[in-house]
Symmetry: C2
Subunit: 389 residues, 2 copies
């Protein structure tokens, strides 16, 4: 059994939005295909992966560094013991040959796109949804059939922003979402508090509403917001400061009684360990959002989970960044706390496939083989293009 070819395609995101820090209008995502020598229904079995959303396509790193190493590796060294498809950890190690330690940034997303494609490939070879392959590989009895999901958005609009925010969230509620996340930090505090009030009109209760500052605040601002947010009993207060400013995070966690969420901009177990060591995150309370698609894939995500669990956190506190089918399978397979969704934006990657029912604040995991990316109409044409021989 062999990987015969690797390919990538840089896909622009449509549905441009902006958070407090960046515009996503020019963002791209790398879609990777691992073509195997195995056939099903007369066609080669192909594994697809992509590097989540938000940190750009990585064609340069893929083509110049990772793909040549993968194709140069001894094919037998990439096989899982016991004939269960390919070994995702071995593939990740092969593409990382001669890379230096540290510097977990763009490279981590490029490796993830390749590593995730191995899981899709393995699940297709086994004829099962990827969540089942993931659960088995990590020694779990069975994946969850559905997982908690919340609608992320709550953008700033040029005109009539607070009223439109309410409309936006009512739209999500009509689609079956019961929990929401909105942006803060892009307006003065008093405007943001009005926005929170408008959002609570839809969410009903603070426990169904999270707020996200996208790493924008310095320590003073972060503390000022923490004080103002305290009374709302919000679901969480996300990324108050720079993701690497662990002292700032710890000082928020010390004073703010509600949950703090962070981690989407930490891309390795080494960085996650530093968050646990220095960031003051509280077992049983705070939310960890590391995203396997930006962090070397599921193999490294498993290492992050070990770091967390050894420090007393439970996996229900993990809600990965990136609302898409791959993370839906990861959350279901590993038994994590839930998923996000960005309804209508970050296409063709964002969101789920028609088979995924969203109801009562939960999303069902589809039974299609692999991650089921082929069943997502927006994404299927790109898979076809990349899969054509």
């Amino acid at each position: 059994m062999r990987i015969t070819e690797v390919r990538d395609l840089t896909v622009p995101l449509v549905g441009g939005v902006a958070n407090a820090v960046v515009s996503f209008a020019d963002h791209t995502v790398s879609l990777v295909a691992l073509v195997s020598d195995q056939r099903r229904q007369g066609r080669p079995v192909i594994g697809f992966g992509f590097n989540s959303i938000g940190r750009f396509g990585q064609s340069g790193i893929l083509r110049e560094r990772l793909f040549p190493r993968l194709l140069a590796a001894d094919p037998d060294s990439l096989l899982a013991p016991g004939g269960e498809g390919f070994d995702a950890a071995a593939v990740a190690a092969a593409v990382m040959r001669n890379e230096k330690p540290g510097g977990h940034g763009d490279r981590a997303g490029a490796v993830a796109a390749v590593e995730l494609a191995v899981w899709d490939l393995n699940a297709k070879l086994a004829g099962e949804p990827a969540c089942r392959t993931i659960a088995r590989r990590f020694g779990r009895r069975a994946p969850h059939a559905d997982v908690a999901v919340y609608a992320a958005g709550g953008y700033y609009y040029p005109d009539d922003s607070t009223a439109r925010l309410g409309d936006e969230l009512r739209g999500y509620a009509a689609r079956g979402f019961e929990a929401f996340k909105i942006k803060i930090g892009g307006a003065p505090l008093d405007v943001d508090l009005d926005r929170i009030d408008a959002a609570l009109d839809v969410a009903g209760d603070g426990s169904a509403l999270a707020v996200d500052a996208n790493g924008r605040f310095d320590e003073d601002q972060a503390l000022r917001y923490a004080e103002a947010l305290e009374g709302y009993g919000l679901r969480w207060y996300e990324e108050p400061g720079d993701p690497l400013d662990f002292d700032l995070n710890r000082s928020i966690a010390k004073t703010y009684r509600g949950a703090v969420a962070t981690g989407e901009n930490l891309f390795s177990a080494a960085d996650a360990r530093n968050l646990v060591r220095y960031g003051g995150m509280r077992p049983g309370l705070d939310v960890l959002q590391m995203d396997p698609g930006l962090s070397y894939g599921i193999t490294e995500y498993g290492r992050m989970l070990s770091v967390l669990e050894q420090a007393g956190f439970h996996r229900g506190q993990c809600l990965p960044h990136g609302g898409h089918l791959i993370n839906l399978h990861v959350v279901a397979g590993l038994g994590l706390g839930g998923c996000e969704a960005y309804p209508g934006v970050f296409q063709p990657f964002g969101g789920y496939s028609p088979a995924c029912r969203i109801d009562g604040g939960r999303v069902t995991v589809p039974e299609d083989p692999g991650f089921g990316l082929e069943q997502k109409p927006e994404l299927a044409p790109f898979l076809d293009r990349l899969g054509e021989t």
Copy 2:
């Protein structure tokens, strides 16, 4: 005054060597050219920069993200106040537009190659060596005319390794070097101690010999080596563990009385601040090796220096990774502790130009305009290629 064009060239490194972790045989470096509309002697003035050595060329990030943003920026926004050429900080900010916080890896090197080219361009416009431009910009009276330099190498050889190590270091001594750095961690401890003895035969004294583990050790190994190295009075013990394992570094710094060196794999002020906060580095003793060419350039390096000086470190403790002309000018211009050199390897970027005399353990800074890369015979053909219109 305008930047009219930006170009890059991916240049393979020759003189392949290996450290304890990686082989450099397939490594590349990105050379960047900023073409201005200014002319000297009838030719356009072009600034050149490159992303140091060791973390690969970044053509993908440069072409897909950074160059389009630079060319889309308002040209006036890139000019230094007072007409003193271009504003390196503004250029770095322009190419970082819509990038998220955190994840300081490959991107940091790509940005650095562009930002450093601005310093070369500014110095050429002023008709002066870059060290002078750098010193002025950072409010220093004058650059140093020469700086301390040590020869890094001390490789493992397939046969007769320890004897050949002595030959290698004697070759460096014959070229005017008086301080040396050798690899450790690629052999059992007792072999490494024999290597240190062989190196001391050339260095004469532990204070002229540093050892580098390239981030290879876990905490037990790092402590075991620390104990064994203690008696030698070495110049420093470099990167015992993973560059992000600040607890490990702190535990070495607590028990090892000699200097610990690290930082070459930290690529932002945020990461350097974490080293200072959590890594146990000792003001007045330990060595900090952050490399502007891997870390968003001299603008961000200046932020790192502020972090360090606010924490009580002095800039004499800073010896940037990367033995080449750019860092020679940075060290001279900012008054840092010294430079490294990798004699004969990492060509065409490694080492200095013929005008740089190495004698008595110091290297003179050339007077050629800019970084003087044009005066380095191995590099000049690549500059010519990239500079041709």
